[in-house]
Symmetry: C2
Subunit: 427 residues, 2 copies
């Protein structure tokens, strides 16, 4: 069994295949697993990158039938059943594709080139460096317009990532950075959250959405709803209504698509669709997610499973959300189905158990829909804290993250403010 990707889906699939009667190879381009739900805290200098990452080899150390290979996957040969990587080829009997997601820019010009992203540990660190660099530059900038541009932050996208990052950034600015940069007037700092839809956090109930907007506004974040982005350039964000938001920092959290099309495009799947009975249709949708059978298998390719963000499956008439719980559940389900296939049994369809939705907005504030109920404020924040701490993989991560948070909470102090490695100067 070869598993491509050591995110939530791939890692849980590997864990569920421990001691299965099969040799399992897990391939990832990084040697660590990233706890994505807390990535925005790295970008806001609240957690260190090491707090939310764990070496894959440590996690899998006790599984004798598992092997980890750090390599970049370059392509698949479906006929020969092999995975081509920059570190050689790996043949498979069963393949699990769990390559996660990548940003979607909806054709907005300049977004790919000029906006910072928040989809990997490297991007999180780069964004943190960039923010701190902007403050350093602003503190010695004599031109008023330039300084204002350095202190303007635009966040595009009002989903959980955008909301959580906007809140964390506001707290960073009005807490530690205010103390560190006494020469700057933090009231000059402007944080704008731009969302094309009419509300933030569209998956939550209207009451929770309104709470999120109010709470962000109280923290000094300008929330612009129903405004689409025309293009992004080095000078800032041009809105569809013609307005220019000048900003040295533009963060794109608006669109997320599956990252399977890169090596699972139509051409690659062509042999399969010619041969087998139910034509699989287009291999990947426009958003890069690959439609799968209810068993998570590719149509006509019973030996290939696609799980997590890069899989497209509907649940109660709606596409499954691209969140960690869905990936984890699919990883376990795919592993169980492969065990069934190895034992000569039929794979079972996947059933999704929705654990609810949580978005943290700041200190003591969150909006949540869990256990069938809505929560806001402090209770929601405690819930969020408990769930995320419990889920962080690895005991060390748990204590380290807890230490950082406790410190932060008690002393209103961000402890992680190194610009490392050296960032390129903004603008």
């Amino acid at each position: 069994v070869v598993i491509v990707g050591a995110g939530f889906g791939g890692l849980w699939a590997a864990r569920a295949l421990r001691n299965a009667p099969a040799d399992v190879t897990l391939i990832d381009r990084n040697n660590y697993h990233t706890f994505f739900p807390l990535l925005y805290q790295v970008a806001a200098a609240e957690l260190e990158p090491e707090d939310i990452a764990c070496p894959v080899r440590s996690i899998l150390r006790h599984a004798r039938n598992l092997r980890f290979v750090m390599a970049e996957v370059q392509g698949l040969d479906l006929a020969a059943r092999l995975v081509r990587t920059d570190q050689g080829e790996h043949t498979y009997d069963y393949l699990i594709i769990a390559t996660g997601s990548r940003p979607l820019f909806f054709g907005v010009p300049g977004a790919a080139e000029h906006a910072l992203r928040l989809r990997s540990l490297e991007e999180g660190v780069a964004l943190r460096n960039h923010i701190l660099f902007c403050f350093e530059r602003a503190s010695v900038e004599r031109d008023d317009g330039q300084r204002q541009r350095l202190l303007n932050f635009a966040i595009v996208g009002g989903g959980p990532t955008g909301v959580e990052f906007a809140g964390a950034l506001a707290e960073l600015v009005h807490g530690p950075l205010r103390k560190d940069f006494r020469g700057l007037d933090v009231r000059q700092v402007s944080i704008v959250l731009v969302e094309a839809a009419e509300s933030l956090l569209s998956v939550l109930a209207p009451r929770l959405r309104a709470y999120a907007v109010r709470r962000l506004q109280r923290m000094g974040v300008q929330v612009r709803l129903g405004v689409a982005v025309e293009r992004i350039g080095p000078e800032g964000v041009r809105l569809k209504d013609g307005e220019l938001l000048p900003a040295a920092t533009v963060v794109w959290t608006a669109g997320v698509g599956g990252d399977a099309a890169r090596f699972l495009g139509d051409s690659e799947l062509a042999p399969a669709s010619r041969g087998s009975a139910p034509a699989p249709g287009p291999a990947a949708r426009r958003d890069g997610r690959v439609p799968v059978q209810p068993t998570l298998q590719l149509a006509g390719r019973p030996e290939i499973y696609v799980i997590g963000d890069c899989a497209y499956l509907e649940h109660e008439g709606k596409p499954l959300p691209m969140v960690a719980p869905a990936a984890i559940q699919q990883g376990v389900a795919a592993a169980r189905n492969i065990r069934r296939q190895l034992a000569g049994q039929e794979p079972l369809p996947f059933r999704y158990h929705d654990p609810g939705t949580l978005a943290v907005i700041g200190r003591n504030a969150a909006a949540a829909h869990v256990f069938g109920r809505d929560f806001t404020g402090y209770p929601a924040w405690l819930l969020w804290l408990a769930i995320h701490l419990a889920r962080l993989i690895g005991f060390r991560n748990r204590i380290m993250a807890l230490t950082s948070w406790a410190w932060d909470y008690l002393f209103l102090e961000r402890v992680v403010r190194l610009i490392l490695p050296r960032a390129t100067p903004p603008g």
Copy 2:
């Protein structure tokens, strides 16, 4: 007062000028102070980079007359008394130069291009990434010679940095990496420490030197004494006696020189040496250290102090060592002398108090000369632990480093093994 460099010398000078009747500007290219004595532990994946670094602004937050500027110094104009940086010019009445050290390669061809270094936080992280990358590559390499080259590590220089890093690397390899890479035979790993002189740790007594060699050998490190390096290339280290040590990783810890000559060369000082009575001689020695008066002032330039690794001053007939305690003491002394000059008094000559020498070799093992006595083994290691913990700046650094160490000590486990940011593949 302008201080260039936020290392031990510059930072302690800034702290000693707190509340002095002067505006103090501290300039550094990074926004953090690095605790250099523990840098080798970052390279050996024992500490996280954040554990040994602290944002300069946090350290100086409570000093109202201090200002920090993150900038790269490009040159001095001694006549106009200004410092040119990439972020504008800063005029000074008094200047403290504390720019630290840089590696010296003694003209060994290829050393600058092919050897990894251990003089900055970035270099420490790069070295850690490189080591882990070599193990990842070796685990999928099929060619025996290539794999052996990936598992060979050569360390050039038997001073404290070389000895400490060799010991830490041996512990990393035979502890956590052995568990993580079950497919590799760690007995294939070779760590060679090459020193041109006839002994390691030449500042210590012969008994302690012999102890260090024995101890390293017991940990599996090959110690090659009295062997000079001819050149360094991508294939490894060529020794003067003709032997080639093939190694994908060569670490250069052999030579350290002052880093003042870059902008304090002869040409820059020429106006001063023409004008004033005692000719200052060559501005910088061949090793990049600048000779200073006993008061730490430049000859003929009473407004300029040079301190720390980039200053050259003799103590009891020998040059002052390039160590943190000397830099700290000089920083405080320079600040005191500037305060005296501001008050119309004469600067006082600097007197060095030697705190002793300590080198840690591994778990429970160190060699030390402190309080006039020699220590080895466990007592020396405890001493080292206590002194370094006490000296780490900032409470957080203290608890975080302690947590990492306690963990490591109890479970023989390195917790920091992420390859981040992505390293370029070795060889």
